[in-house]
């Protein structure tokens, strides 16, 4: 999901030229293999909800209508281009008005559009009806991943983040692309089949959009606001979509994956998640040792921080500061914890206090303070993070 560059024009050219040849070679081989099993996908994805079927039907009707208009108009035009050409000796008529015909081709299209508007209205009213859901989940857009939280039923309280699972090697062409290239996540949203699922969307930073074409669902995720949509999946399976509102550099790398399972499997999954969450409940009073904490912190860093600050901590200055050798990171602990907890307004630095618990936040801060050329030797106890929350 990340490649290294400042984004500044003057610096990307040499790097790109160097990798182009390699990329072309590997890409070319992959492409010829792809063409052999080419998909040529050209239509709406198979609908698995009633809404998606309605959308597909409406689209089919519209295709018939516009094809009719197209062939109607252009067969007349084509005939005219043939029969009324000067080279065939056709003499130009000089008529230039006909009020009756004008009225006809104003009124008839108007009537056609009224006819089109009726089923369109019905479909939309249906799509906006989020009443009486069986389950409500919240999808929060982050730069650049989704966070899910179950709000009702047995699953209430289950929350996790859903991060792109495709590796950098695949993206850069250094490894063959998997079957669900760019459409795979580590932890999908799991919902039961044949149940009305209400999805609330919001964002922690910029506008994203949560979309699953097979459900005909697409709703913006607007920071500071909660939008809602719904779906009732009629078939078990795994359904994939992508973020659908430009949200920054990795907009193309934060897919939406929904796994629709039987009631039984959903109940099992819910119980399993709750057990895992209980096991992971942190003890904010635990006292960590440096080596153990740094190891844990590295995992957190790789999951949450590399997209911007890079594996080697060099960042993407000036928009994204380097952490390696940073005055803030090697300076007073409170300032460092504060900025990770609360973010920095007006920049892409999010408030990770909302995403990470005290243990994980303390660990990642400790990792940064003891990685690369930073060797502060500092340990950060979760209790220190907890004490700073809300300040």
């Amino acid at each position: 999901m990340v490649t290294k560059s400042t984004g500044c024009l003057l610096e990307w050219i040499p790097a790109r030229v160097a990798t182009t040849g390699k990329g072309l070679a590997v890409g070319g081989a992959a492409l010829s293999a792809n063409l052999a099993t080419a998909a040529w996908e050209h239509g709406l994805q198979d609908p698995v909800t009633a809404s998606a079927r309605q959308a597909q039907d409406l689209h089919t009707w519209m295709m018939w209508l516009i094809s009719f208009i197209f062939f109607g108009v252009f067969s007349v035009l084509a005939y005219s281009l043939y029969a009324h050409r000067k080279s065939r000796g056709h003499q130009a008529a000089q008529f230039h008005d006909n009020t009756k015909v004008e009225i006809l081709w104003t009124v008839v299209p108007f009537v056609i559009l009224v006819v089109v508007a009726v089923p369109s209205t019905r479909a939309l009213v249906n799509m906006r009806d989020t009443s009486q859901p069986d389950l409500t989940v919240k999808a929060t857009g982050y730069q650049w991943k989704w966070g899910y939280e179950y709000l009702t039923g047995d699953a209430a309280g289950i929350r996790f983040q859903s991060v792109l699972a495709t590796t950098q090697e695949q993206i850069k062409g250094q490894a063959p692309k998997g079957e669900n290239y760019l459409l795979d996540v580590d932890r999908p949203l799991v919902v039961p089949v044949n149940r009305k699922v209400r999805v609330l969307t919001t964002s922690a930073d910029v506008i994203h959009a949560w979309s699953v074409p097979a459900f005909a669902v697409k709703t913006d995720a607007v920071p500071g606001f909660v939008r809602e949509t719904w779906f009732r999946a009629e078939k078990e399976g795994t359904y994939r979509g992508q973020c659908s509102e430009l949200c920054g550099k990795d907009h193309g790398f934060m897919p939406v994956v929904v796994q629709v399972v039987s009631e039984q499997q959903y109940a099992e999954w819910t119980a399993e998640q709750k057990v895992l969450m209980a096991a992971n409940v942190e003890d904010p009073n635990k006292v960590w040792a440096l080596a153990e904490q740094v190891a844990h912190g590295e995992k957190i860093y790789l999951a949450h921080c590399v997209a911007c600050h890079q594996v080697n901590g060099s960042g993407l200055p000036p928009a994204i500061p380097a952490l390696d050798g940073s005055k803030l990171v090697t300076g007073p602990k409170l300032d460092h914890i504060g900025i990770v907890l609360n973010g920095k307004t007006g920049t892409a630095m999010a408030a990770f206090g909302a995403q990470l618990n005290n243990t994980d936040l303390a660990a990642v801060v400790a990792y940064e303070r003891n990685a690369w050329s930073n060797q502060t030797g500092d340990v950060i106890q979760p209790a220190e993070v907890l004490a700073l929350r809300g300040k």
């Binding site: 500044c8 239509g43 000089q94 081709w105 299209p109 850069k172 920071p223 659908s244 509102e245 193309g252």
Partner: protein, 538 residues
């Protein structure tokens, strides 16, 4: 009968280099208040910007040729797609039609020049600094804005100084457009030759009259939106930030209140050109002049009432979605009337297929396709599936490129003899047309399929099922891009072969511009020409 341009007027003796001769050298172009000179500058500027914006699109299509990231980083890709659109809309297509307006409107209405010559000069000369500001934002730390041309906050609030440069460039471009619009309205309303009532005015004048009002009403709105963005970025306001009591979606409402009339600002002059070319090469008057005028006015008016069809999935209330769907469907009616009228103009005419007519036919065919996909997008329940996918990208390239650009080419070939005094090579023109037509469709038709299949827009890399059509589209894009270099070949070949053009090279052409010699003298219609009432429309 046309007025001699060497007539002597009292009070003119003090002016620089008159009696038909402009000053020499670069100073001529810097200080000119002559509508022909200014029109020429607009046209060269727009073509240069077209090549720059086109090169950027080829960066995008090169990256999209295969899945994976090969050439550019995702953040640079976003900068390219943002600048590509801003340059094409504000630097290429809008100035191109303003160039046509400058060259042709005074001659079409029988006026000696535009109403405000010095302001006209300023309108043009604001453009190069704005273009430099916009393109050089790429060199700034953090690069250019990477938000898409729509500049939505909060993402645009995160951007670096490149965003501020884009905002200032937009302000300057807007000022240029507003001043140009004032000039056009005043010229058309006040300087028509006696006998030329509004309902006898050429269609290109009508389209520009309505377009100018759209510009005056909508450009200040854009200025407001980007200024609010600027203050949110730097001066502590929260217009678009929920944390401060604002709303990111407010920006979208303000932007699209400008943005939708903007696309008709681009389309209406294109309609005007086509309304001249089709009758000329059918040797038949434009069918339904009155309803064509009403259609233009209706389109102009309704264009202000449909903006939120760009916002169907933002969470606006159901009532809003329904209203905007109905209003958007409604705008198809006058647009359809225009298409039917153009076809009927040709019906039982005596048609020939010189290059201007080919491009006008290309416009008719392809703009209609774009309009029909617009109808599909208007249906909210379907738009849910297509919003922010390549279906939208295909739609607007059909109407803007195959529509507006092809119309501009039609106008270029149609009026080039008048401007230069020489005929272009018909063979080269045909090559330009056919290459453009074929490669355009190869580039953009597959994008409908990509959108239907679910490929989002504004992504530098894509899932495997989108591979094949992306490859086809990229090949088409490169072919189309290279074909546009033919414009330079045609223009320079025209000036080289020096095949003299008569005052009216096109048998069926109508209008006052064809009553002056080719090339048109530096000053035309210094006395208002007599206007023959019976031959009403241009």
């Amino acid at each position: 009968m046309y007025a001699s341009d060497t007539a002597i007027h009292p009070g003119h003796e003090g002016h620089e280099a008159h009696a038909g001769h402009p000053p020499k050298g670069i100073l001529r172009w810097v200080t000119t208040t002559n509508h022909k000179d200014i029109g020429t500058m607009y046209l060269w500027f727009s073509f240069a910007m077209f090549l720059v914006g086109g090169a950027m699109s080829l960066v995008l299509r090169a990256e999209l040729m295969q899945p994976g990231i090969q050439f550019v980083t995702p953040e640079f890709y976003n900068q390219m797609l943002t600048l590509h659109a801003l340059i094409m809309v504000f630097g290429a297509i809008m100035p191109a039609f303003v160039g046509f307006a400058n060259w042709m409107l005074p001659m079409m209405v029988g006026a000696s020049d535009m109403a405000f010559g010095r302001m006209n000069n300023w309108s043009f000369w604001l453009l190069p600094p704005a273009a430099i500001l916009l393109t050089s934002s790429l060199l700034m730390p953090g690069g250019a804005a990477g938000t898409g041309w729509t500049l939505y906050p909060p993402l645009s609030v995160q951007m670096g100084i490149g965003m501020d440069m884009a905002i200032f460039a937009i302000h300057i471009l807007g000022m240029s457009s507003i001043m140009g619009a004032i000039n056009i309205i005043t010229t058309i309303l006040n300087m028509r030759t006696p006998g030329m009532t509004l309902m006898k005015m050429p269609m290109f004048c009508w389209t520009w009259l309505v377009t100018a009002f759209l510009l005056i009403a909508s450009m200040p709105i854009l200025a407001g939106a980007v200024t609010m963005l600027l203050t949110d970025r730097h001066f502590g306001t929260s217009f678009f930030s929920a944390a401060g009591g604002g709303d990111p979606v407010l920006f979208q409402h303000i932007f699209w209140f400008f943005g939708h009339p903007e696309v008709y600002i681009i389309a209406l002059p294109a309609f005007g050109v086509v309304s001249h070319v089709i009758p000329a090469f059918s040797r038949k008057p434009l069918f339904g002049y009155t309803s064509m005028v009403y259609a233009i006015a209706a389109i102009g008016l309704i264009s202000f009432l449909v903006w939120a069809h760009h916002m169907y999935v933002t969470g606006i209330p159901l009532t809003g979605q329904l209203y905007f769907m109905y209003a958007t469907l409604l705008i198809a009616v006058p647009t359809g009337v225009k298409v039917f009228n153009w076809v009927t103009t040709m019906w039982r005419g005596s048609i020939t297929f010189e290059t201007p007519m080919l491009f006008a036919l290309g416009f008719l065919f392809l703009f209609t396709i774009g309009g029909l996909t617009g109808l599909v997008l208007a249906i909210t329940a379907v738009d849910i599936q297509l919003q922010d996918t390549y279906y939208v990208v295909a739609h607007f390239h059909y109407v803007m490129v195959a529509g507006a650009l092809f119309s501009a080419y039609a106008g270029l070939y149609y009026w080039l003899p008048k401007w230069t005094g020489y005929m272009y090579s018909e063979r080269l023109g045909q090559w330009h047309f056919w290459l453009s037509l074929v490669f355009f469709n190869v580039a953009f038709f597959p994008q409908h399929f990509l959108g239907l299949a679910g490929m989002p827009r504004r992504i530098p890399d894509y899932a495997q099922q989108f591979t094949e059509f992306n490859l086809v589209s990229s090949i088409g894009a490169f072919g189309f891009g290279i074909s546009q270099l033919m414009v330079l070949v045609v223009v320079f070949n025209t000036l080289r072969r020096k095949e003299k053009a008569p005052a009216k090279p096109w048998e069926g052409a109508e209008g006052l511009e064809w009553t002056v010699p080719s090339p048109a003298p530096y000053h035309t219609f210094e006395e208002p020409p007599p206007f023959d009432n019976s031959r009403a429309h241009g």
